[in-house]
């Protein structure tokens, strides 16, 4: 495995959530190859238009995309729709992150092919644990489709 290859793409507009998520993942020293994209448009540019972020180009097999739903410009639903509707990217696991279990888009996400759906807990302990479990599952336990 190329050590610089991006394994986790985090699409999140909230800087604090992003920082806490990245911190939680890195705390285990397991997941260092994380790319943070600040909104849906960046995600689409990165995946489909060859745009570089942090000097990184999109490769075909990130282990997981952590996708926030509520974002300015292009929202999570639209990104999900593109990822799952494209031959090239539809096998990439997408975990939807949201602030609320009341999200009316939950059903829509599953219909569009989201692999998982996570409500970000308020408490950092829970939040941290959730993020780490998530990373652990998709990066270590899950056998990606060849």
């Amino acid at each position: 495995m190329n050590p610089t290859e991006i394994e986790i793409i985090l699409v999140e507009d909230n800087q604090d959530d992003a920082a806490l998520t990245i911190r939680a993942l890195r705390s285990k020293n397991l997941f260092n190859n994380i790319l943070h994209l600040k909104n849906g448009q960046e995600a689409l540019d990165y995946v489909y238009n060859g745009t570089e972020f942090d000097g990184k180009k999109f490769n075909d097999n990130p282990k997981v995309v952590l996708l926030d739903l509520k974002m300015p410009k292009v929202n999570g639903i639209e990104v999900l729709e593109q990822l799952k509707g494209n031959e090239k990217t539809k096998t990439i696991p997408v975990v939807v992150l949201t602030s609320s279990a009341e999200d009316p888009d939950i059903k829509k996400c599953y219909e569009l092919g989201a692999n998982s759906y996570i409500v970000k807990p308020v408490g950092f302990d829970n939040f941290s644990k959730t993020v780490v479990d998530l990373g652990m599952y998709w990066l270590v336990m899950n056998q990606p489709q060849k």
Partner: protein
């Protein structure tokens, strides 16, 4: 004078001799008298014959016979005339349909008698035919009167038009009242004589349509400009088939639906106003929903940041902090968690509004026991004595009703936790078409003075330092029960405990 004339006309040669003879016999005078009468057409006179039997007597006999014969033939003529007169006068009466008199039969057996018999027979036959006809006409008249009475008293407008030119032939009282035109004015006229062309065109087209098919042509709404202003009618048109099998008349029955129509219009208007209000309400609701979602979503993110960073500070820089600072850090995090809980509770409450009830029959004893099991897992459970009587089954939304009992039992546990021996009792009783469920505790109770705040959102009757809570639990209970068309109430006394009651309809 007779003498003179006889003398005057007598033969002058024999006049002396003849006058002598005549003077000698009175019979001569009688003969002359007879002759005179006969020449005047009076044949009724006869002369007596003497016993002499001479020529003079022979003449008298001859004259008498002549007179008799003449008299007889005159009578025949007179009889004939009077019989003809009789026939004529009776015949005249017959022509005036007076069959009361019969022609007298002469008894002669001649042609006149034959005519008279014929006439009498004919009169009898005519008389009987006329009686039959009269009876028939009376019957028709009766029927007509019968139908007219019905027609006139039908409260709906009834009219009949002939099929050819659609002119009115019948028109009842209700029609007069409705249209404001007199029967006499309508009969013989058609729609174009009374109504605006556009309307008349419409009526006529419907008339033709009705005449072209069998059964009823139903015109549920038509506008008609009457002498009393515009009216709405519900009209049924029916073809009346003549003896030739073709429609001869058109029967129309109209109901005045003007009032109904105006009520309908009013209702429609009200409905559309109502619909507007509903739309507004819906859009407000949607906005509110979007707002609620947004609030829940956006309020949680900063809370995560607050809690997250505080947590990191505590973990990574904890050794540099004093005890007091650590305590405050813990307080910051506890408050963040509590606010998260508040948001979740509030959201649950608002979500309830739009949720459809999914009812089924529920074993309430089972449900309450599950509540207790769950409570034992989730909170620090004091050593309370909880007794559950067998509860009545009921048809409710199980998930929501679970929430109700979970809240009530956890309240009971919470508010009795400071007692030495907390006792909680759950029971139910059937009352008419309701089941009343009771959750009773011997805890800290509440002051009935504040009862009106008990089920309010964010209303709390106890200090947060004493009992934790967001003030949403009972509000949620009330909303769920109300949504089930049930009732909820409570009784309490400070330090003596509280009882909560839920009355639910049995289906």
């Amino acid at each position: 004078m007779k003498k003179r004339r006889l003398n005057g006309s007598g033969n002058s040669i024999n006049s002396l001799e003849a006058s002598d003879i005549l003077k000698k016999d009175v019979r001569v005078e009688k003969i002359l008298n007879l002759l005179l009468k006969y020449t005047l057409g009076d044949y009724s006179v006869r002369e007596t014959v003497s016993e002499k039997g001479d020529e003079l007597d022979a003449i008298i006999i001859g004259l008498n016979t002549l007179g008799e014969e003449a008299e007889a033939s005159g009578k025949i003529v007179r009889d004939f005339e009077s019989r003809v007169t009789n026939i004529m006068s009776v015949l005249l009466k017959y022509t005036l349909f007076d069959f009361s008199e019969k022609v007298a039969i002469g008894g002669v057996g001649d042609e006149l008698d034959a005519i008279a018999i014929g006439l009498n027979t004919m009169a009898e036959e005519l008389q009987s035919a006329r009686e039959t006809e009269t009876a028939h006409l009376n019957k028709i008249e009766d029927t007509n009167r019968f139908l007219d009475t019905i027609l006139e008293n039908i409260p709906n407008m009834v009219f009949v038009k002939e099929a050819k030119e659609l002119r009115f032939v019948r028109f009842n009282k209700a029609a007069e009242d409705l249209l404001g035109y007199k029967k006499e004015d309508m009969i013989g006229k058609n729609d174009y004589d009374f109504f605006p062309k556009e309307q008349a065109d419409f009526f006529t087209s419907k008339d033709r349509e009705a005449l072209s098919k069998e059964g009823v042509t139903d015109i549920t709404e038509e506008l008609i400009e009457t002498a009393n202003g515009p009216k709405w009618l519900h009209t049924k048109k029916i073809p009346l088939i003549g003896s030739d099998g073709k429609p001869a008349y058109l029967l129309g029955i109209s109901e005045d639906i003007t009032r109904r129509k105006s009520s309908e219009d009013k209702i429609k208007k009200l409905n559309s106003e109502l619909q507007n209000s509903i739309n507004q309400l819906e859009s407000t609701n949607n906005e509110l929903e979007a707002f609620t979602y947004s609030v829940s979503h956006d309020l949680r993110a900063p809370l995560r940041a607050i809690h997250g960073y505080t947590n990191i500070i505590e973990k990574e820089y904890g050794d540099k902090l004093e005890g007091e600072a650590k305590k405050m850090m813990a307080s910051v995090m506890a408050n963040a968690i509590k606010m998260g809980q508040l948001i979740d509770d509030l959201l649950a409450l608002s979500r309830l509004g739009k949720k459809e009830l999914q009812k089924r029959e529920v074993d309430m004893t089972d449900m309450v026991n599950q509540c207790i099991d769950e409570l034992k897992r989730s909170v620090k459970f004091p050593n309370a004595k909880i007794t559950v009587e067998p509860l009545h089954k009921i048809t409710v939304d199980p998930a929501l009703m679970f929430q109700v009992f979970f809240n009530l039992v956890s309240n009971a546990v919470k508010y009795s936790s400071l007692k030495e021996k907390p006792v909680i009792h759950i029971s139910s009783v059937k009352d008419g078409d309701e089941v009343i469920y009771m959750v009773r505790d011997n805890g800290t109770g509440f002051d009935m003075r504040y009862y009106n705040k008990l089920f309010g959102v964010f209303q709390r009757l106890h200090d947060a330092s004493e009992f934790e809570g967001t003030g949403v639990g009972l509000a949620l209970v009330k909303r769920i029960v109300t949504k089930h068309n049930g009732r909820v109430w409570a009784e309490g006394e400070v330090d003596k405990g509280a009882s909560f009651y839920i009355a639910l309809k049995i289906n």
